[in-house]
Amino acid sequence: MANLKVKTMGMEFKNPVLTASGTFGFGEEFSKIYDISVIGGICSKGLTINPKLGNKGERIWETPMGIINSIGLQNPGVEKFIQEELPKMKKYDTKIIANLGGNTTEEYLEGVEKLSGTEVDIIELNISCPNVKSGGMAFGIKSEVANDIVSKVRKKCNKPLMVKLSPNAENIVEMALACEEAGADSISLINTIKSMAIDIKKRKVVFENVYAGLSGPCIKPIALRMVHEVSKAVKIPVCGLGGIMTAHDAIEFIMAGATLIQIGTANFIKPDIAVDIINGISEFMDKEGIKSLDEIRNII
C-alpha cells in the first residue's frame, strides 16, 4: 500500500489532502457524513478578530463549472473560535489550520497573537479575500505590502505560518518570494479569482460588492499554472488548491510542486469527496508503483 504521509513544517500529515477555508466550516457538519479524521488537515473558515456578519444579498452564483461567492468573511471572531470551535476541532485526529483574515495590520497582529496561544497546528494568513470592501485583498496585490504584513505577523506568530496568496496578485512569483523573504513557512495558493455576474433581466449586478470570488473546476488550469510557477521559485513548501475535484487533479498539483493540497468547492459538489480523493491518490500510486509522494512531487 502506498504511503501517503507527508512531513512538512515540522510535523507529519497523514496524507496531503486538506480541506480549504470557507468550504468546510469548522468540520462539524461534515463529521456527520463521514469520519473527518481521515483528512490530512482542516482549514477553518476565515476568522477575523471581531465577529463579522458578512455580505448582504446574493452570496452564491453558479457559473460554467464554477461558483462565485460573496460570503464576506462571516465568522464568529477569533475569540469565540478559540473558545467554542477549536476544542471541538481538536477532537478530530487531523491537523487544524486556523485561517485568519483582517482589514488592518492591527487586526492581523491581534488575531495572530491570540491564535499563537492555542492548540492550532498552523496559522494560514489569508491576505487574499476578495470579498471584503476595505482591505483583505489589498494586502495580497502588491508584493511590498505583503512583505510588510507578513514580516510583522511573523514576529508575533509562534506557529508555522502559511501565507495564502491571491491569484489577483500583480505578480504571483514575486508575491511568493516576498512572503518567503518575510519569514513565511509555507505558501498556499490560490484563493478565488475576482469575478463578476450580471442579472440582465433586472439590469443589476448580482453581488452587493459588485465583484466576488470565482472557484471550482473552471479555475483549475490557472491555479495549477500558478502553483507550478511558485513551486519553482520558492524553497518553502507550497500548498496547492483551486478547482481540485479528483485524485487526478490532486496529483497534477503534486507533480507541479505542491507538498499539500486543499479541496474547496468540491466539498459542496459531493460532501464526502475528500475520501474519494485520498483513496484515489492511493490507488494511483499503487497502480503506478509509486511508494511515496516524494517520487512524484515537483517532477514537472
Binding site: 468546510f24 457538519e29 456578519l53 452570496r59 461558483i67 459542496f268 464526502d272
Partner: protein, 240 residues
C-alpha cells in the same frame, strides 16, 4: 444524512413542467426537509435543493419544476439511471409545535413539500392550494385532509384568484406555508396582525446544503441564520 448514489425508480412528468422523482431511501425523514440532487456527470456543478414531497416505506418522492439547466438535465433522466442524492437536510417542520387548528397554505411548486406534512399532522388541518392554472397532487391532499380548498388564478379549477383571499385567518391557531415570496409575505403580515403562529419554508441559493458555506443567509432577529441548516422552516417571528 448521507450521500448516496440512487437508482431512479420513477421520473415522470405529472403536470405542466412538474416531474415526480422516486428513489429508495431508508433513513428517517421529517416533513419540510430536503435533499440535494446532482447528476453524476458535470452538466451542472452545484447540487440542487429539492424538498421531500412524500415518504412511503423505503421510497421517497420529490417533485420538481423545470426551471433552468439543473432541473432540465434531471428531467431527461430515465428510470434506472443513477443520481446523487444527499440528505435529508434542514430542520423540517416541528410537528409537536403544530397545535390547535392548523391552516396549511401552499402556492405553486411550494405545494409539493406540504403533502408529507399534511399526512403527518392529520385530517384536521385545512389545506389551501394555490395554482396558476395546472392543478397537481390536489387529490393526494384530499386523502389526508378533510378540507382541501383549491384556488387557481384563472379559475379553471376550484375557486378563482389568489389562495390568500380564501383563508379566514381568524379561525386558525397555526399557519404553515410554502410558496412564492409575495404570497408568504402576505401571509406573514396577516398572521402578525392577527397574532397567529406562522411557520414558513424559505428558499435561498445554496452551495453546500449542510451549513458549512454560509451561502444561504436568512436575516433573523437572532442574527444570520442558514436556510439549509437552521431552516428552511422558520417561525415568522424570527424573520426580519
Amino acid at each position: 444524512m448521507k450521500v448516496q448514489k440512487s437508482k431512479i425508480l420513477e421520473n415522470k412528468l405529472i403536470s405542466n413542467k412538474i416531474y415526480r422523482l422516486t428513489v429508495e431511501f431508508v433513513d428517517e425523514i421529517k416533513p419540510g426537509q430536503f435533499f440535494m440532487l446532482k447528476t453524476l456527470d458535470n452538466s451542472f456543478l452545484l447540487p440542487r435543493p429539492i424538498s421531500i414531497n412524500d415518504v412511503n416505506d423505503n421510497l421517497i418522492t420529490l417533485l420538481y419544476r423545470v426551471e433552468g439547466i439543473g432541473t432540465t438535465v434531471v428531467s431527461r433522466m430515465k428510470k434506472g439511471d443513477e443520481i446523487q442524492v444527499f440528505g435529508p437536510l434542514g430542520n423540517g417542520f416541528d410537528i409537536t409545535s403544530l397545535k390547535g387548528k392548523i391552516a396549511v397554505i401552499g402556492g405553486g411548486i411550494g405545494i409539493a413539500p406540504l403533502l408529507y406534512l399534511t399526512k403527518k399532522i392529520g385530517k384536521n388541518s385545512d389545506v389551501f392550494l394555490g395554482y396558476k392554472d395546472s392543478v397537481y397532487i390536489a387529490e393526494e391532499f384530499e386523502k389526508y385532509s378533510n378540507n382541501t380548498i383549491i384556488v387557481t388564478e384563472d379559475g379553471s379549477v376550484g375557486k378563482r384568484g389568489y389562495v390568500t383571499d380564501y383563508v379566514d385567518f381568524e379561525k386558525y391557531d397555526v399557519v404553515v406555508t410554502c410558496g412564492p415570496e409575495i404570497m408568504m409575505n402576505k401571509i406573514i403580515d396577516k398572521c402578525k396582525e392577527k397574532k397567529i403562529k406562522c411557520y414558513v419554508s424559505l428558499e435561498r441559493r445554496m452551495a453546500c446544503g449542510l451549513g458549512a458555506c454560509l451561502g444561504c443567509t436568512v436575516e433573523t432577529v437572532n442574527g444570520n441564520m442558514r436556510a439549509c441548516k437552521d431552516g428552511p422552516v422558520f417561525s415568522s417571528e424570527e424573520l426580519k
